[in-house]
C-alpha cells in the first residue's frame, strides 16, 4: 500500500468517527505514531492509531476545528 493509500485509510477511519460526533479527547504521541482517544457525547469511547505523517498532521487540523466549534 502506498503512503497515500495508508493515509487515506487512516483519514477515512478518523473522518468516520468525526461524522458520528466523536471528539478527540486525548492523544499520546510516541515512536509508533499518534494514539488518539475519541469520545462520543453518549459516552462511547474509541481508540485510533495513526501512523502516517499526513494523518498525524490531519488529526490536529480536526482537533483545531473541534476547538473552534466548541468555542
Amino acid at each position: 500500500m502506498s503512503e497515500f493509500e495508508q493515509f487515506q485509510a487512516e483519514k477515512l477511519k478518523l473522518d468516520g468517527y468525526v461524522s458520528q460526533k466523536f471528539r478527540i479527547v486525548g492523544v499520546k504521541e510516541d515512536l509508533e505514531g499518534a494514539w488518539l482517544d475519541l469520545e462520543h457525547p453518549g459516552g462511547e469511547t474509541a481508540k485510533l492509531h495513526l501512523k502516517t505523517a499526513n494523518a498525524r498532521k490531519y488529526y490536529v487540523n480536526v482537533l483545531l476545528q473541534q476547538g473552534r466549534s466548541k468555542s
Binding site: S2, E3, F4, I24, V25, G26, V27, K28, E29, K57, Y58, V60, N61, L63, L64, G67
Partner: protein, 431 residues
C-alpha cells in the same frame, strides 16, 4: 536611472559595491584603481602589527567546469608597515573624497592597543573602521581574528575599546566559524558597534593532491587550514545575514559579505537585510571592472521594478525568513512534468525512485510513447526532480489548493499539548 547611493551607519558611498578587506585592497595603487573602475567603497586590507606571509597562499575549488566555485587562502593581514599604509590611505581619500574608505583593523585584545591604532588610522582621514574579528588562520593562533570573534565577551570588550576613542563609525566584522552568529552580533551591538559586516571566511582545507599527497595549497610540503570564500559560501553568508537582520537585538545596519559575484547576489543580500555588500573573490577572479556589470545590472533591475533608490531593497525579504516551527504544514506543492518539453532523460525518475518518494513513473501515452508522469498524490513537493532536471521549465512545482487552514508545527504542538494536559505551559517541543 535609480539612485544607487547608500549610507551605512553614516558612511556614504556612491553605490553599494565595496571591495572587502583582502588582497585587492592591499595598497593605495589597487584601491585607487578600484575606485576609478567604479567601486563605491573599499575596506583597506587589515592593519596591525605587520606579519610575514608564506609563499603559496591561495587555492580554488573548481566544480564541474566552473572555475573558482570556492576560494581558499592562507594569507594574513598586511605585511607592510603602518606608516606606509597610512600615507597611501591619506592619498587615496584625498583623491577620492566621495568614495567610502573604511580601514580594517586587528590588534591584540588589549585596550591600549585598540586605542593606539584607532587614533593613528583616524588621523589620516578615513570614513570608518572595520574591526576584524573573523580571520580564521594565522592570526587566530595568536589570539586575534576569529579567536577573539568566537567569544562574545571579547567581541563586546574590544568593540567598546575601539569605540572609546573612535570618531568615525565602527563596523564589526564577524566570523562564521561559530554556531550562532547572532550571539556575537549582539555582543558587537552591546559594545557599541555602529554596524556589523559578515561573513568572514570559513575554516577550510581546499583539497589534497591525490598524486603527491600534499595539501592544497602547501608550503614546502605542509599545509594549514585557511579561509574559504567565493560563490560556494553565499548560502551560508546569506543565512547568517538574514539571521542577524531578523533578530530584534541586532539593531545596527549590516554590510553583507560572502560569495557576492553579481548584481543579483547583491540584491539578495540587500533583500535579506544588508545595506550594501562587500566583494572579494569575484574581483580576484575577474578583475575590478566586474563592478561595471554590477552597477548596470542593479540599475536596470531597480528601473524595471520602478524603485527610485537601492535603499528600498534593504530588508524587504527579512519577514519572509522564519524559524522552521512557524512554517505552514498544510501548504503543499507537487511536481508537474511538461511532456512536450521533457527530453525523457529519466533523471527525475531516477532521483525520485532512488532518493526521494518514488512517485515519478514511466508510462505510455495514447500515442504509444513513453512519458514520465508524477503520481501527484504521493508527491511530497520536495523539489528534487525539478532540481535535477536539465531542461529549464520541463518540471514545475505547482501549488495545491488545500482545504485545511494554515497550521504551523508550533501551533500543532500547542494544540496537542493542551489536549494532553489542558491549557497551560506548552509541554510539546516547539521550534
Amino acid at each position: 536611472m535609480a539612485d544607487l547611493r547608500i549610507n551605512l551607519a553614516g558612511i556614504a558611498s556612491p553605490n553599494p559595491f565595496w571591495l572587502a578587506s583582502a588582497p585587492p585592497t592591499n595598497t593605495g595603487y589597487q584601491v585607487q584603481r578600484a575606485f576609478e573602475a567604479g567601486w563605491g567603497g573599499a575596506v583597506w586590507k587589515t592593519l596591525g602589527d605587520p606579519i610575514i606571509n608564506t609563499s603559496s597562499r591561495f587555492a580554488a575549488v573548481h566544480f564541474n567546469g566552473q572555475r573558482v566555485a570556492g576560494f581558499n587562502n592562507i594569507e594574513l593581514i598586511t605585511d607592510r608597515p603602518l606608516e606606509i599604509n597610512l600615507k597611501e590611505i591619506y592619498e587615496t581619500k584625498k583623491r577620492f573624497p566621495n568614495h567610502a574608505l573604511v580601514v580594517s583593523l586587528m590588534v591584540e585584545p588589549k585596550r591600549e592597543k585598540w586605542h593606539e591604532i584607532v587614533k593613528k588610522v583616524e588621523a589620516v582621514g578615513v570614513d570608518g573602521l572595520e574591526l576584524n574579528f573573523g580571520c580564521p588562520h594565522g592570526m587566530a593562533e595568536r589570539g586575534m581574528g576569529s579567536a577573539s570573534g568566537q567569544q562574545p565577551d571579547l567581541v563586546e570588550a574590544q568593540t567598546m575599546w575601539a569605540k572609546e576613542v573612535a570618531q568615525t563609525p565602527v563596523i564589526v566584522k564577524l566570523t562564521p566559524n561559530i554556531t550562532d552568529i547572532t550571539s556575537t552580533a549582539k555582543a558587537a551591538v552591546r559594545g557599541g558597534a555602529d554596524a556589523i559586516s559578515l561573513i568572514n571566511t570559513i575554516n577550510s582545507l581546499a583539497g589534497v593532491d591525490i598524486d603527491t599527497w600534499h595539501t592544497i595549497p602547501h608550503v614546502g610540503g605542509k599545509g594549514s587550514h585557511g579561509g574559504y570564500c567565493g560563490p560556494a559560501v553565499k548560502p551560508i553568508a546569506l543565512h547568517m545575514v538574514a539571521d542577524c537582520a531578523r533578530n530584534p537585538a541586532v539593531t545596527v545596519p549590516i554590510s553583507g559579505i560572502g560569495g557576492v559575484s553579481t548584481w543579483r547576489d547583491a540584491v539578495e543580500f540587500m533583500l535579506m537585510g544588508a545595506t550594501g555588500v562587500q566583494v572579494c573573490t569575484a574581483a580576484m577572479h575577474h578583475g575590478f571592472r566586474i563592478v561595471e556589470d554590477m552597477i548596470d545590472g542593479l540599475n536596470n533591475y531597480l528601473d524595471e521594478r520602478g524603485l527610485a533608490s537601492v535603499t528600498e531593497l534593504t530588508g524587504k525579504s527579512v519577514h519572509r525568513y522564519e524559524d522552521w516551527g512557524n512554517l505552514d504544514l498544510n501548504y503543499a506543492v507537487v511536481a508537474r512534468i511538461d511532456t512536450d518539453t521533457c527530453i525523457n532523460c529519466n533523471k527525475c525518475h531516477i532521483a525520485c525512485e532512488d532518493t526521494s518518494h518514488q512517485c515519478i513513473e514511466r508510462v505510455t501515452n495514447a500515442q504509444g510513447e513513453a512519458i514520465l508522469q508524477v503520481r501527484e498524490e504521493d508527491c511530497v513537493g520536495c523539489n528534487l526532480c525539478a532540481i535535477v532536471c536539465p531542461v529549464e521549465g520541463a518540471i514545475t512545482m505547482v501549488e495545491v489548493q488545500g482545504t485545511e487552514a494554515p497550521m504551523t508545527w508550533n501551533e500543532r504542538q500547542k494544540a496537542v499539548a493542551e489536549l494532553e494536559g489542558g491549557p497551560g505551559p506548552n509541554k510539546k517541543e516547539a521550534v
